[in-house]
Amino acid sequence: MAPFMLNDEDDERNGSVERALIGAAAVAATAGLAYLVARTLGGGGGDKAPISDAPPSALRRGYKPSDALVSRTVTIARPARELYDFWRRFENLAGFMDNVKSVETLDDKRSRWTIAAPGGTEIQFVSRITEDQPGRVIAWESEEDAPVRNSGRVEFLDAAPGRGTMVRATVDYDPPFGTLGRGVAKLLQREPNVQARRDLRRFKQLMETGEITSSASPSGRRSEEPTRQYL
């Protein structure tokens, strides 16, 4: 009878209160479990229409259009056009994107990308520009035969006056081996979320300071050199 000991005369009523509480708890637990199961099995591809003024990648499951959608925004104290121009010369991207080994421009629309993949391997694909608004947007999509289908866009949005540009990069990709592949990539820190975050930080450093910040310095660790960044 523990928590609701009223008094002896109320025994009968007391019992019915208790039964009602147990019943309510059981309903709540079932509903909660059902919700969790639905959440777990539901995956991405939400169909609920959000009212929040946030970019799609910030939405919770159920609202987010796709689980593979990765996006990150960084504010850079430089004009949009300058940032766009630097990015549009895709060869420059290998200078601050960790996984991008090289980019070769093939023609107006197409470029060949060489990307480091988990396990020391490399993959190559050809990417085609699908939208190009100077100073505003660059969007691209991998061609049909790409080993990892991906598409992305980078938007250059004016920040508040005097505060430069908000750069928002969005990547949507089909990881090899689906969700499992994404998990493995995450463990190896090759996961696009981690990469997008770090690549955009390096882009900001390069554009604002003219160099990519490095803490390379000596230490008592014999295996390390003073000119390389280890962590």
């Binding site: 900001k204 300071t209 490095s214 008592g220 960044q229």
Partner: protein
């Protein structure tokens, strides 16, 4: 070169390590002439700061002579420079607001993840202070690589000794910003918790900024004596109930501003501190904020609380009721060193600030591990230790305490 390296809790050693090299165009290399051990180095020594790696070189209060510059550095070989402990790019949004310790670019892209996860946004870079702040080697060594050397270093004019200017690197601007953040008005009574070097500088700074009285709180007699020499009234918390004493000494109003220069490893016998000790010991907590609570509870209604003391994690029993109901204002943060160095250098040259009187010891780099032990165990007699890589092993000079003449 020789360098003082961290290997674990209460384990620092002097190792031979590679010399630093120019990595980026804005870098410079200095030959270290003086490097002090900071109170916050004790947090590393005690193992309270996460993301240290065995072999890390310590030291963030550094100065020396420029020996090599990158193509974009504005320094010249041969110049004597003091190096702010904060590494700042000078061109991001935060640097443009003079919030140098919040620099968005000086923590490398990879090490930024940790503090972004912990605090929501990445911390700025700093020398010799774990990988949360970038993993930069410190200057308790013969040489130091200085990134963004066109923004931080303070070029020292001839005629000033190392001891006079060394503390521009950290503790002088830290004490000064502690007093600035207390928004002192003419006639104010200011209470200062902790009479370590930062507290002592906060006392001097509070008087410079117009405080009528300063009341200093500690339990080391020698440190309290130094505070008294600076013109402060003193409270030994072993002798008095600090809140009662402050209430009485301020005629029932309370201090107008409270500056908490203690941080996460508070001493003291209060029941809350004993409970905090137990939680830290059981790894249930990280910070022991007894002085912080006392400052909030002691402060007058509508007063200001300034916190230069260092914290890292979560706090239990923040007296939010007292904070809200009394309408207090709190300011805190790692020091925006570059914002204050020029003004403070001028004040040193004009004799308005005495920056040398509490240095208790000069020692060689080779004697660094012993000095860390003394600094940790004998805080009463070791009030500030300056390591000089130029001195030979065993050459430890206890400096005669100089009588301070208030400026």
């Amino acid at each position: 070169m020789r360098a003082l390296t961290w290997h674990g809790r209460h384990d620092v050693r002097v190792d031979t390590v590679p010399d630093p090299e120019i990595v980026n165009p804005r870098d410079a290399i200095i030959k270290v002439t003086s490097t002090a051990i900071c109170g916050s180095d004790l947090h590393l020594y005690d193992g309270y700061i996460p993301t240290m790696r065995a072999g890390d070189i310590l030291g963030h209060e550094n100065m020396g002579e420029v020996v090599e510059v990158g193509s974009k550095s504005t320094l010249k070989v041969g110049q004597r420079v003091v190096i702010p402990f904060t590494i700042s790019c000078g061109s991001c949004f935060h640097c443009s607001k003079q919030q140098y310790s919040a620099c968005d670019n000086s923590n490398p892209a990879t090490t930024s993840d940790m503090s972004e996860t912990l605090y929501g946004y990445p911390m700025g870079g700093a020398f010799g202070y774990a990988h949360l702040t970038g993993g930069y080697a410190g200057g308790q060594a013969e040489y130091l690589r200085v990134p963004y050397s066109d923004v931080g270093p303070v070029v020292i004019p001839d005629g000033l000794e190392d001891d006079q200017v060394l503390f521009l690197s950290d503790i002088l601007p830290t004490g000064w910003m502690g007093a600035v953040n207390a928004e002192i008005e003419q006639g104010d009574t200011v209470a200062v918790w902790g009479c370590g070097p930062v507290g002592l500088f906060a006392i001097q700074s509070a008087f410079q900024l117009g405080a009528h009285r300063v009341i200093a709180i500690d339990h080391y007699p020698r440190r309290l004596q130094l505070a008294k020499q600076m013109g402060a009234e003193i409270l030994d918390f072993r002798e008095v109930d600090v809140r009662d004493a402050l209430f009485e000494m301020t005629g029932g109003i309370g201090p107008d501003a409270c500056i908490e220069c203690v941080g996460m490893e508070t001493h003291g016998l209060g029941i809350d501190n004993l409970a905090d000790h137990a939680k830290v010991w059981l790894k249930l907590g990280t910070d022991r904020p007894a002085a912080f609570r006392q400052a909030i509870l002691s402060c007058r209604k509508g007063g200001r609380v300034s916190v230069p003391g260092v914290y890292g994690g979560m706090m239990d029993k923040f007296p939010i009721g007292a904070f809200m109901e009394k309408g207090l204002t709190m300011k805190t943060g790692q020091t925006h060193v570059q914002k204050y160095t020029r003004q403070l250098l001028e004040m040193i040259q004009e004799g308005k600030l005495d920056t040398t009187w509490f240095i208790s010891h000069h020692a060689s780099l080779e004697d660094g591990p012993d000095m860390y032990r003394h600094w940790h165990d004998e805080q009463d007699s070791y009030t500030k230790i300056v390591l000089k890589p130029g001195l030979a092993k065993g050459e430890v000079k206890a400096k005669q305490e100089k009588q301070h003449e208030p400026a």
